[in-house]
């Protein structure tokens, strides 16, 4: 009996996550687009992002480990449940391919750099992401470039040293090539 009751409860909690998250996400659409499919290259696509990554990033924004003038005021009043709901909502949305047009030779150089840097050991094959390691496939080119530059310059440091270390030895050209390759993984 307890088992059945608990099952019903568990199902309800999970269902509410996405649904409640959808309502809470209405404010996000202004920048991140409908259902997290951002049309603005400086704002990341959130649709299909891993829930674990999204919730940890929201927590980091809220607790000051990651900073962004747009995000800081938005996250200030989010509760832990809000964060879980939002993460569940965006993770459940289908990413729509962006309008990005790939430069084939730069993308080929980017793939070689990605192989050398062992990106997929953490980001999974095709940069699909897993757990707290984000999906980057099909992300906006401009956003990827900015993040890699921020890691390199240590403006973004909530990565436990992994990405700052990876980005340190990337040249400007490497970053451009990597972003060409990854943004093109639609």
């Amino acid at each position: 009996m307890m088992g059945v009751l608990a099952l019903v409860l568990a199902a309800r909690v999970q269902a509410q996550d996405v649904e409640a998250g959808g309502k809470k996400a209405e404010v996000c659409a202004a920048c991140h687009g409908a259902n997290g499919n951002s049309q603005t290259p400086t704002f990341p696509v959130l649709a299909g992002q891993t829930a674990r990554y999204l919730s940890l990033q929201l927590r980091d924004f809220k607790e000051g480990r990651r900073k962004d003038p747009n995000m800081d005021p938005i996250v200030a009043n989010l509760s832990r449940q809000d964060i879980y709901d939002l993460a569940a909502f965006f993770a459940a949305q289908k990413p729509i391919p962006t309008a990005f047009k790939q430069d084939d030779s730069k993308a080929a150089a980017g793939k070689a750099k990605a192989d050398e840097t062992l990106c997929t050991m953490c980001h999974l094959g095709g940069f699909a992401g897993q757990n707290e390691i984000p999906r980057v496939a099909g992300q906006h080119y401009e956003y990827i470039v900015k993040q890699l530059n921020d890691f390199k310059a240590k403006r973004r440091t909530n990565d436990a040293g992994n990405m700052t270390s990876v980005a340190r030895t990337l040249s400007e050209q490497d970053i451009e090539n990597l972003a060409q390759y990854i943004a093109g993984l639609q």
């Binding site: 307890m2 088992g3 059945v4 608990a6 099952l7 409860l9 568990a10 909690v13 999970q14 829930a51 674990r52 940890l56 832990r80 070689a112 192989d115 050398e116 840097t117 062992l118 997929t120 050991m121 953490c122 999974l124 094959g125 897993q130 757990n131 707290e132 390691i133 909530n158 990565d159 436990a160 040293g161 992994n162 700052t164 270390s165 990876v166 340190r168 030895t169």
Partner: protein, 568 residues
């Protein structure tokens, strides 16, 4: 440090699953058709005698000795050229495959990434049932969503899951019998290894050396899932060890021991996040009631300043008491590791010649360093280490922010890949990688459940990568022969009484070599990375060889979803 976060959800999920409601079982034509059409009952006598069993494959690594030696010789060096595929079993999961199928009485149990289990007729490939673990809301794991197989005892199967649970399944129906939480996945604990079962105990370690866990090996009761004992791989007191200056082979580790001692004075609380995962099955000597396993790297992998001392028992072989989990001995290969060249490949029990030429009980391990280490089984003393199986350069240069080149690269040497030992040739067969890398360090404090490398390692594009099967004489430590491959090797080796060594490559080739000289005798193209662990078995007098070919996340080898079975 925040275990209450998903408390409610987890509690609900747990109590639901305890009644078998949370998982899915799928099959063909209704419930009855999904059952294995015979009683499955593996006795302890069978499990203990598995090394001499030419019918079944009952343990991940063949037996409690973990030699991966199959005593059947129907398929042998003379006739292996005629080996043909009998069937390919396709799973629904197209992702890294590292499983070692368990085969009992003509029924095969195999697993895939994301904790699916299939029961299959080992002769025809017909599927009986398919179990999908219902994953909890949080998973945290390094190096791919892998699973390396189930363990079997009586009529039960046991599997560790990515969300750090241990499940027991009915081997006949695939129904969930019980489920228990091993550790908190939010803190970076996860399971990819197959458990080992002996008597009433299920033994299992944990992943998480890349996440600042506090590692362990635990024993759970086979009937209830109740925790029986825990051995912590990171002792709260004494983890600083002996301030070793050299590694196990006598090479200087370039430690600043004065600075480390000063850091330890200031803060010794880091032991709680010091890592020490256990990735592969333990070996068991039932006569002396001893469990042998190797412990992985300290956390963070590359940045050592905040974890002064030898970081015991990371990068070590450890022996504990089977009944209580009490410490017996340890031997550390690399103190204060900052290269992630840890101990992963499962230990093998065998007898070897000691330094005076007398045969003694021993336990050996193939290291990511490229050496095989052979120890006395009773006290851990190092009898010998093999000559280097792959190139070593600049050992032990310290990682720098811009990267320092050292060989081997951080994947080894011998990764988790289990070696095989053939008592007839006296050779151990080790699958090696040669992957030149630069090691980069970056200061980083404990990030609370996020990946925590404290730096990075990168390959060097101008330097060729390759693999090598090395056959090492266990009585001398000399490499008897080597067989080089175009890609680094990851996966298991199998050797047989038919003088064969089976292994697979990332390019999809599954191969058989002559165990005596390394000559290529047979190969088959699987179409995706052949990176699982091969096994052999017999049904009604016919010998088979099985190999999972689903590629590999860690080395990004082409993914697939199939297991191939071969016979003459």
């Amino acid at each position: 440090m925040n275990s209450m976060k998903f408390g409610l959800v987890l509690m609900c999920a747990l109590s639901a699953n305890a009644y078998g409601q949370g998982a899915e079982i799928q099959g063909g034509m209704g419930a009855a058709a999904n059952e294995v059409p015979k009683t499955i009952a593996v006795t302890q006598t069978q499990l203990s005698a598995a090394a001499r069993d030419a019918q079944n494959w009952l343990h991940t690594n063949g037996s409690y000795d973990q030699t991966r030696y199959f005593p059947g010789a129907q398929i042998n060096a003379q006739n292996v050229a005629g080996l043909k595929a009998v069937f390919a079993f396709q799973t629904e999961v197209m992702e890294s495959m590292e499983t070692a199928p368990i085969v009992v009485d003509g029924v095969m149990y195999l697993t895939t990434s994301y904790n699916h289990v299939y029961a299959v007729d080992a002769v025809t490939g017909k599927q009986f049932w398919h179990y999908k673990h219902k994953m909890g809301p949080v998973t945290t794991f390094c190096c791919g969503p892998n699973n390396r197989g189930v363990a079997i005892s009586g009529g039960k199967l046991f599997m560790g899951t990515l969300d750090a649970k241990l499940v027991a399944l009915d081997a006949r129906t695939g129904k969930l019998l019980w489920e228990t939480e091993i550790a908190d996945p939010e803190k970076g604990y996860s399971e990819t290894m197959a458990p080992t079962v002996i008597e009433n105990k299920v033994l299992i370690g944990t992943n998480g050396g890349e996440y600042g866990i506090c590692g362990f090996v635990k024993a759970f009761d086979t009937d209830s899932g109740k925790l029986l004992w825990t051995f912590n791989t990171i002792p709260e007191k004494g983890n600083e060890g002996v301030w070793a200056v050299n590694d196990a082979t006598g090479r200087n580790l370039h430690r600043d021991i004065a600075a480390e001692k000063a850091a330890l004075e200031k803060d010794s609380s880091f032991y709680q996040t010091l890592g020490g995962g256990v990735w592969m099955n333990p070996a068991i000597d039932a006569r002396t009631r001893t469990v042998f396993f190797v412990v992985g790297n300290p956390s963070p992998d590359l940045y050592g300043a905040e974890r002064p001392g030898d970081n015991l028992y990371t990068d070590s072989m450890v022996a504990v008491d089977l009944d209580s989990g009490a410490y017996k001995w340890h031997f550390q290969y690399i103190a204060h590791d900052v290269w992630d060249l840890d101990a992963v490949s499962p230990p093998i029990l065998l007898d070897v010649k000691d330094k005076s030429g007398r045969m003694v009980p021993a336990v050996m391990h193939g290291g990511k360093t490229g050496h095989i280490y052979v120890h006395r089984r009773d006290n851990g003393e190092l009898i010998r280490f093999s000559e280097a199986m792959i190139p070593q350069e600049n050992m032990w240069v310290l990682p720098t922010p811009d990267g320092a080149r050292m060989l081997p690269g951080a994947n080894g040497g011998v990764e988790w890949s289990p070696m095989a030992f053939n008592p007839n040739t006296r050779l151990a067969y080790a699958l090696n990688l040669h992957q030149p890398m630069t090691y980069h360090v970056e200061a980083a404090t404990y990030p609370g459940g996020k990946l925590w490398l404290g730096g990075a390692f990168k390959t060097i594009p101008s330097e060729k990568q390759w693999g090598r099967v090395a056959a090492v004489n266990v009585d001398t430590g000399k490499v008897a022969w080597k067989y080089d491959t175009e890609q680094p090797l990851i996966g298991g080796a199998l050797t047989t009484a038919g003088n064969l060594v089976f292994f697979g490559e990332g390019n999809g080739l599954f191969k058989a070599l002559d165990a005596r000289n390394g000559k290529l005798l047979w190969h088959f193209q699987c179409g995706a990375g052949a990176n699982a662990m091969p096994v052999s078995y017999s049904v009604r007098g016919k010998q088979y060889v099985a190999m999972g070919c689903g590629g590999n996340t860690q080395l990004d080898f082409k993914r697939g979803n199939s297991l191939f079975v071969f016979a003459l």
